[in-house]
Symmetry: C2
């Protein structure tokens, strides 16, 4: 997809993005990456192309661990859900995630939805794909009860994320360590099971 040298450039762009947000200039990227602007334009077309490539590059780095589906009982289901909650929260509170979401949201405001689609696809939707199969396995095993796995996923998302993401995006500085993440994921799982568990 990208040559090693291109990956160096994209890494530099990502760093600058985290540091300065959307205000990064082509000149600053070229300087940081020790490459010429001509090369940037040759490789990525224009500024939007560079940003798109950067987002794709970052997205490709995120590799979701797969979760076992065999031997699903109440305990392992709960553990899986908690794991998903932790993954989701860890991703969302990360500086890179906040930065790229801000970038994509800014682009969406300029009628350019390309970045938004990429971020959506590789953030929430990637989690969703994995989680849905677990949820459906849980239903299959008579551990959960719901009509639409889509709705169930979105409820889980809401219980985990709550207002964290929007507050981070709006600039609030929330310190979120491993322990808070684990606690929130556990609480959200508890609440999710209180709603969807076969009771």
């Amino acid at each position: 997809m990208f040559t090693p040298r291109q990956q160096q450039v994209l890494t530099a762009a990502l760093d600058l993005l985290v540091e300065q947000g959307d205000r990064l200039t082509m000149t600053s990227v070229a300087r940081r990456a020790s490459c010429s602007k001509e090369t940037l334009y040759k490789w990525f077309g224009d500024r939007d192309g560079l940003l798109t490539a950067t987002v794709q590059f970052q997205a490709a780095k995120v590799r979701m661990p797969q979760v076992d589906r065999w031997r699903l009982d109440a305990a392992s289901l709960r553990a899986s859900l908690e794991q998903f909650g932790r993954d989701l929260l860890s991703t969302i509170v990360g500086e890179v995630s906040v930065t790229l979401n801000r970038l994509a949201i800014g682009h969406a405001g300029a009628e350019k939805h390309g970045l938004g689609a990429i971020v959506l696809e590789n953030g929430p939707l990637a989690i969703r794909r994995r989680l849905k199969s677990v949820l459906e396995a849980g239903r299959e095993a008579r551990l959960l009860r719901f009509d639409s796995s889509e709705d169930a996923y979105r409820t889980f998302f809401g219980l985990v994320v709550r207002d964290i993401q929007i507050r981070l995006l709006l600039g609030e500085t929330i310190t979120f360590g491993e322990s808070e993440i684990a606690r929130d994921a556990a609480t959200a799982t508890e609440q999710f099971l209180a709603v969807y568990d076969v009771s």
Copy 2:
């Protein structure tokens, strides 16, 4: 706070903001409002001042209906919660809300958190203030059980909003009518009570 003429100008700015996002120029605002740029700078200082005033102006227009707290029983509590859910969803899915949230998020990415604070204060936090008192009244009346009303509010927020807001911000076009809002608010209330109801 603002003279009628100033309100005309801010309305024009808000319209342009919804139409073109953050790309609106001082010239376009002046033209749309039929005023001179000199006046804009005299009244609002600079571009950021104009944007801030626009956000404040819009925020001041949103007047939350108060909810009765007397005679709180299970039915009226449920009705209040549903009403809050509908209010929250209606606000969030509105074009103006999406636009101003995008604007504030962009500013937060540029280390200028002023707009983010205003949006936060007049959006989620305004709802929270009202909802918290209802929640605490519910606890007082032995209808709800929770330790932290803050956590309870945030859970309700998550159950109502789910992934709607982030998807809208990222540019997804979701058609959301009265009926969907009512249904989602009802479902969220149901789920909230399943978690926090004294059972």
